[in-house]
Symmetry: C2
Subunit: 322 residues, 2 copies
């Protein structure tokens, strides 16, 4: 059976163009459309269920709820989400919902009114009572007590990996530094993986956590730096936590990585022009984004989804801090 | 006359909430709605033309066309644009159009079909022939040969300011480093301001430009570093150009700012956790975003706009590179 890629190749166009012709969405030059339609006939290509169901949907817009598009991790994620939606002729509605739960509720209403076809949510609000299992929502990182499909990176393995890399870099007393949300979040597994791996290897370790969000940053880092003078490694729950720690440690004469090795989580630096380049557990952002949209499409067409949580493998990206 | 702020204060809610009640958009708790309506009656508040006209518009969605949301300057801009739209009950559709002119054309089609109420475009494609003066489009930076309202920072004054700051920091032979698009772009004024101010002050200077986009970055910076060994200051057309120059210069043993002072343009670093913290000409991103949306609203309601180009003042933000 021919695929959309075969059609694209024969017509000499991009996959996205074929998709736009099939879905009758987006600007396609008449001549290009003709070439694609010819290729479809020649190859007897049958657009798949997803594509055909899409035609019957009222809305071809997906809402993306992010705490803030300004954050580099979220803007990278949004970039790939838009790209994956575009391939299927869908458009992206963007909402910065940070600290504004009523905005999230509004998009849930739009979903009920079929004004958006689905929602991708990175929410930290308690909207649990609002959502049913069968409505087209896919969450990233946030778990929603198992009613909502969730795509996340393998936070637990990431925590284990960070511990091993700190030890490999010479750390004998590493610390985990993070924050805890009231509701369960997948990101908490970073700490658990770190702690479990330390126990397994018999490494002495420290867990330092405060309630999320950390409002008084000065107090947060001061307390850590005062109480835990003897640590020689830090696994920070995010790259930003790592960067903030390093900046403050430097002022006290603590050298990174000579005195303290530091590993972050996320991989927000996509180039090496600003320093320190963090050693970090890199999330596969592009894969997470594309998988999220593919799962959302399944939910939109009513296909059952096998797993509740999809955890994508992470990698250690060495930088200047280990 | 009472303002929306007075209503918000009396009702004890945020301005955005009042806006959602007036525009009948977004989720508002019944009790909150009642409080706001009471405050409106008490203060005899009359929603302005914009708000009332909005009710009659079919679409309450605005499309934002960006080269890439992944770039920190654009993600900051998108953040404030979404916020300003939300205050008026509008939603944001996001499109990464970088290198894909057909995506931009598609949104212009949506505008003609009234599927979006307006477009904010940071486009570098030649879509000039597609657009008329009276359709609701506001451009950022790109000039469109004067048919489209454009909001930009005062690039010319920014260039002058950069030259003066380089001289103040001890530079006697500064260089401008940038790229040139084929079509006129407001950002070209950065070079002109720099050159004019150097002439006015009798300072020897260098202009280094290549066609945009710079594909072979290695060749671009190598040629500059080889040809212009005697310069002691660099004004780069963007912060990223500055950061890339500094990284390469460092490898040749050139110290910044001791040997060469460097100033960028944009102000993409919103914190000081990664180094070098660039000395830069800071664009007033929030003001640009909010003004862009206010001008777009005027165009949507058919109000004539006084100016073709709105240039907002920039400031010098000293960092570690001068």
């Amino acid at each position: 059976m021919s695929s959309v890629k075969d059609v694209a190749q024969l017509a000499g166009v991009a996959v996205g163009t074929v998709s736009r012709v099939i879905n009758n969405s987006g600007a396609v030059k008449p001549e290009t459309r003709r070439k694609v339609e010819e290729a479809i006939r020649t190859l007897q290509y049958v657009p798949n269920e997803v594509a055909r169901n899409f035609k019957m949907q009222k809305s071809k817009t997906v809402a993306l709820l992010l705490p803030s598009i300004w954050h580099p991790f979220f803007s990278e994620l949004a970039y790939y989400i838009e790209d994956e939606l575009d391939l299927a002729g869908f458009k992206l509605m963007l909402c910065n919902s940070g600290g504004r739960p009523e905005k999230e509720l509004y998009y849930l209403e739009m979903l009920q009114q079929n004004k958006v076809a689905g929602i991708v949510g990175i929410t930290y609000n308690d909207v649990e009572h609002m959502v049913r299992t069968d409505i087209p929502i896919v969450s990233i990182d946030r778990h929603f007590d198992k009613t909502i499909t969730c795509v996340t990176s393998d936070n637990y393995e990431g925590g284990r990996l960070a511990l091993r890399e700190l030890v490999k870099a010479g750390s004998t007393k590493p610390a985990f530094m993070g924050s805890r949300t009231e509701l369960f979040s997948e990101t908490m597994n970073r700490r658990d993986g770190f702690a479990d791996e330390a126990e397994a290897l018999g490494v002495e370790y420290v867990i330092y956590e405060k309630p999320d969000p950390v409002v008084d940053e000065d107090a947060y880092y001061e307390e850590f730096l005062e109480r835990h003078r003897d640590i020689d490694g830090v696994f920070a729950i995010t790259d930003m936590f790592a960067a903030k720690y390093i900046e403050r440690a430097k002022k006290l004469g603590i050298r990174v990585p000579e005195d303290v090795r530091v590993i972050g989580y996320d991989g927000i630096q996509d180039h090496a022009y600003f320093h320190p380049v963090l050693s970090t557990i890199r999330q596969p952002v592009e894969e997470m984004a594309r998988m999220t949209i593919q799962l959302l499409f399944k939910k939109i067409e009513g296909t059952e989804i096998e797993q509740e949580t999809y955890r994508l493998p992470v990698t250690f990206r060495p930088g200047e801090t280990t």
